[in-house]
Symmetry: C2
Subunit: 496 residues, 2 copies
C-alpha cells in the first residue's frame, strides 16, 4: 500500500476508519466522492453508521455526485442524512425526503461545478474521497468514478482519503481528467470523439487539507442487473427500427448514445446486444454491466462515462478486453455532463421517465407531482443538448391502473421542445416539426396504451373545445386522473 | 446597385417584387430571412399581401427566425400564414394560432439549425432573403440579422434575394459568420470573447437557386421604444444591487448579459444607463435601441447579437460610434444561441416571464397555460446554460387582479433548476443551494405582491399538510386561482 502514498508526510496521516469518522461532527456538511453509482467511500461511511448505532448524535448535510443506493441506504437507514444534494439514490432516503425529514436540494449534475465553485452548498467541512492512491506528484488517483471530486476537495476545509485496494488497479489507466476553467477564463474543450483523451489521469489536491488516509478493501458491487422482459424487448425493437431509419436518413451515421439509470435503461442497453448495430459508442454519466457487455461482445467500440458500476463480471470484462484503455474512458463530470460536448458529439439521448404528457412534456422525477423518486440528475440536460432526444417509456404501469401517457404531467423536468421522439411498446411518435396538436395526436395514436387511447382522445377533444388555444389543457380534468387513481385504483376511474 | 450584383447571370434575375411574389404559390412552404426583430424581406412580403388583397388564393407555411411584429402582422392580417415556425411575433398571428386557424410549430431557436438540416419543416419551396448585396465570390451579404438564413437557403429549392438599399451599408462591416459543421464533424467553436470575430462576413449561396433578385428601399423600423416606469425602475434597482454583490463575490468579474424581448427587457437595458457598471457586455439573440444607447454613451464596451433592431436613432449610433466594428458584432444564430458559447462566456441571462411559481418554474409563453403570446424562443436555452440565470418579473399584473407569482405555473418553459435568482419590484430571492421548501419560502417572502403573500403562504401550508412530499403541490387548488380570475376578476377570488 505504501507505494500508493508518495510522501512520509502523507504516510503519517494513515488512520483507521473510526479515527477518520470521529473527525466528522454532528451538523457538519460532508462531501463524498462518487458519480453515478460508482466510486463513493465505504469504510468511513460504515464507521459513521457504527458511530450512530452506538448512540452518537450525528446528522450531516451530504453533497455527493454518487447516485449509489448503498450509500444513501445505509446512511439513510440511520437517519444520518439531514440534507442531501444533488441526487437521491435510495428508496429509504426518498421516503425520508418525501416525509419532510430530510431536506433535498435537487439539482442537475451539469450545474454542480458552477454551484460548488460559488460556494452555494455552504462551507463544506470535509470531503471523503475514495482513491486508488497518489501519483508521484501527490495527485489523487480516483477509482471507478471521477465526477466532481476535485470541486468537492477544493471547496472543503479538510479531506479524508479512503484508499480502496479492492478497486481494480486497471481503473488507473482509464481516467481522463480535463477540468475546464470557469468563465471568464473558459476555453473550448477539445473533445471531438467519444474515446478521445484530452487530459490527465489524476486529480490535484492540496496536501495540507488531507487529514486522514484510511486503507480499506471493500469491493463496490451493484445489485443484480435486470434482465429484459417481453415489454422492454418490444420497446427496444421499436427503438432499433426507428434508429435504422434515422441512420439511413443521416447518411449512415450512428450517433453516440446516452442512457440513464434504472431497469428499463439497463434492459435497452442489453437489447442492443441483439441489434444489427455495430461499433456502438456510448457517452454517459454512468455505465453499468449491460453496456460493458456490449464492449465485451465487440458490439460497442467506445464508451465514455462518469462512473463505472462495478460487479464481478465488469471486473472480468476490464481484464479480458484487449487494450481496454482504447475503448473505455472514465471522465470527470465537468465533461460527461457538458452541453458543449453533448452538442458537439450529437449524442442520441435515451431517457426513461415516470410519465409523459400528450404534448411530450416529461416527468422523470416526481410521482403524482409531489413524491420524489430520484431527481432530475443529468437526463434533462442531455435531452436539451442532444442531437436526438428520445424518451422510452412503457405505455402503462400497475397492470394498466396508470397510464404513463397523461393529459398533463404532474411535474415537468423536460419540456416538450426538448423531446424529439417518444417510444413505447406500442410504437414510435416522431415529433420533430410537428405542432402541439399534431404532437398530441401522434403520441396518443402511436404510443398510448389501448385502454387509454379513447380517454386521452376524449380529453384532447374536450380541452380543445372547452379551453382552446395553442396548447389546450384542462387542468381540472387532467388532475382528475390522479384523483381517480387514488379513489378508484385506476386512472380510468369508475370506468376501470 | 449593380456593384452589389457581381455577375451578368445574376443581373439577369433582377425582377420586380410582383414577379418574384408570383412564383410563390398557394400551399407552398416559404422561408424568410430574419432573426430577432431584424433583417426580414419587405418588398416581396408586401407584394404577397397585395396579391392576397387582389383576391388570390394564397396561404403558406412560414419558417423564419424573424420575431418581427411587422412581418407576422401584415401577413397574418391577410390570413396568408397557415403554419408558422418557430416563433410567433404578433398579436394578430397569436390570436389566429389560439383560435385554431394557424398551426404553430413552437420551437427553441437553438434547435433550428439541427431541425432544418434534418428537413423537419418539410420541403422548403422558396427562401426569401434580405441582403445588402453579393461579394465578388457571389456570397450573400446579409443586412441587420444573419440568423439561420444559410440553413434556410440550403434547405430551399429556390431563393429570392431582396436587395434593400435602405439598410445602412455599415452593417456590411459588422457581420461575423461561423457555421459549425453538424455532428459527427463538429469542432470546437473558437469564440471566447463577446466581441471576438471568428468567421467571415458573407453567406455562401448556390447561385443556381437564385430565381429572382428584387431591389427595394424599405427602411426597417421598430415601433416606439418603451420608457421605464417606476415599477421597472424598482426591479432594475434590485437587479443592480444584487449584481453588485455578485460581482464582489466573483472577484470583480461582471458577466456578459443576455436580455430578451419586450418592454420590461427594454426598460432594464435602459436602466443600465444609470447604473454604476462600466464596460458592459451583451451577448443576445436580438438587440434594440436601449442596448445600443449603452454603446453610444460608453457604458457598454461589447455587443454581440443575432439581429439588430433598426431605428433612426440606431442608424445614428452606427454612424457616430468610432470604430463600431470593434464593439458590435452581428452573428449567425448557430452561435448566438449556442449552449457551448453561452456556457463558456458565463452569460448572465436576464429573462422576463408571464408567471413564475413558488418553486421557480417559469411560464414565458402561454397565458393561463393555453393561449400562446409569443413562444419559447431562446430564453429557456439561455437560462439552461447561463452562468447566472435571473428571472425579472413584476409581482402582479392587471392592477393586482393577477399574481405573477402563482402556486403552480399553468405552462412550464423553464424548470426551477434552471433559475438561480428571481427579482420583482419587491426584492430578490437567490435560490442557489436552496431546497424546494426554502425556494418557495424565499420567493413568497421576498418577491410576491403583498396582497398575495398570505394566500401563497396558505397555499403552501395546505399543499404541505394535505399533499406533502418533496415538492408539495395541490393542483386542484392551484388551478382554482385561474378560475377565480375568470369568475371573479381576480386570482384572490371572492376575497378580492
Amino acid at each position: 500500500m505504501d507505494a500508493n502514498i508518495p510522501s512520509e508526510a502523507l504516510r503519517r496521516r494513515v488512520a483507521t476508519a473510526e479515527d477518520a469518522a470521529a473527525s466528522i461532527r454532528d451538523g457538519m456538511t460532508v462531501a463524498m466522492s462518487g458519480y453515478a453509482m460508482a466510486g463513493y467511500p465505504k469504510a468511513v461511511t460504515e464507521a459513521l453508521v457504527r458511530r450512530r448505532q452506538a448512540g452518537d448524535d450525528l446528522t450531516v448535510s451530504l453533497v455527493t455526485g454518487a447516485n449509489a443506493p448503498w450509500l444513501d441506504d445505509i446512511l439513510g437507514a440511520e437517519n444520518i442524512i439531514a440534507r442531501r444534494a444533488p441526487m437521491c439514490a435510495s428508496r429509504t432516503l426518498a421516503s425520508q425526503i418525501n416525509g419532510g425529514g430530510v431536506r433535498y436540494v435537487e439539482q442537475q449534475m451539469s450545474k454542480m461545478p458552477r454551484l460548488l465553485r460559488g460556494g452555494y452548498f455552504g462551507a463544506i467541512d470535509v470531503a471523503v474521497v475514495e482513491a486508488l492512491g497518489f501519483d508521484r506528484d501527490g495527485n489523487l488517483i480516483p477509482t471507478s468514478s471521477i465526477g466532481m471530486t476535485h470541486h468537492l476537495m477544493d471547496a472543503a476545509d479538510a479531506v479524508i482519503v479512503e484508499l480502496n485496494s479492492a478497486q481494480p488497479e486497471i481503473l488507473r489507466s482509464l481516467h481522463d481528467i480535463h477540468i475546464p476553467a470557469a468563465p471568464p477564463d473558459a476555453e473550448p474543450i477539445p473533445l471531438v470523439r467519444v474515446d478521445q483523451r484530452i487530459g490527465t489521469d489524476s486529480l490535484p489536491v492540496d496536501p495540507d487539507k488531507i487529514r486522514f488516509i484510511v486503507e480499506s478493501a471493500a469491493p463496490e458491487r451493484l445489485g443484480s442487473q435486470p434482465k429484459g422482459t417481453p415489454l422492454t424487448k418490444r420497446i427496444a425493437d421499436h427503438l432499433f427500427e426507428f434508429l435504422e431509419l434515422e441512420v439511413r436518413r443521416n447518411g449512415g451515421v450512428l450517433p453516440p448514445f446516452q442512457t440513464g439509470f434504472g431497469s428499463l435503461a439497463d434492459s435497452i442497453a442489453d437489447a442492443f446486444q441483439h441489434s444489427a448495430f455495430r461499433d456502438l459508442r456510448f457517452f454517459c454519466g454512468g455505465i453499468t454491466q449491460p453496456v460493458m457487455e456490449l464492449l465485451a461482445s465487440g458490439k460497442a467500440a467506445a464508451l465514455s462515462t462518469g462512473g463505472l458500476g462495478m460487479s464481478d463480471r465488469v471486473e472480468q470484462i476490464l481484464r479480458d478486453v484487449p487494450n481496454i484503455r482504447n475503448h473505455l474512458v472514465i471522465r470527470n463530470g465537468d465533461i460527461t455532463n457538458n452541453a458543449e460536448v453533448v452538442g458537439r458529439l450529437g449524442i442520441a439521448a435515451l431517457n426513461t421517465a415516470i410519465e409523459i404528457d400528450v404534448y411530450g412534456n416529461v416527468n422523470s422525477s416526481h410521482i403524482a407531482g409531489n413524491r420524489v423518486v430520484n431527481g432530475i440528475g443529468g437526463g434533462a440536460h442531455f435531452a436539451q443538448n442532444a442531437g436526438l432526444s428520445v424518451v422510452l417509456i412503457p405505455s402503462s404501469a400497475k397492470g394498466g391502473a396508470i397510464s404513463n401517457i397523461v393529459p398533463m404531467v404532474s411535474h415537468q423536468d423536460i419540456a416538450e421542445h426538448d423531446v424529439d421522439v417518444v417510444i413505447t411498446e406500442n410504437g414510435v411518435a416522431d415529433l420533430r416539426g410537428l405542432d402541439d396538436g399534431e404532437r398530441a395526436d401522434a403520441i396518443v395514436a402511436r404510443c398510448a396504451d389501448e385502454a387509454y387511447r379513447g380517454p386521452l382522445q376524449r380529453y384532447l377533444d374536450e380541452a380543445r373545445s372547452r379551453r382552446g388555444g395553442h396548447h389546450p389543457q384542462w387542468p381540472e380534468e387532467a388532475f382528475g386522473w390522479y384523483r381517480n387513481l387514488k379513489e378508484h385504483g385506476s386512472m380510468l376511474g369508475e370506468d376501470a
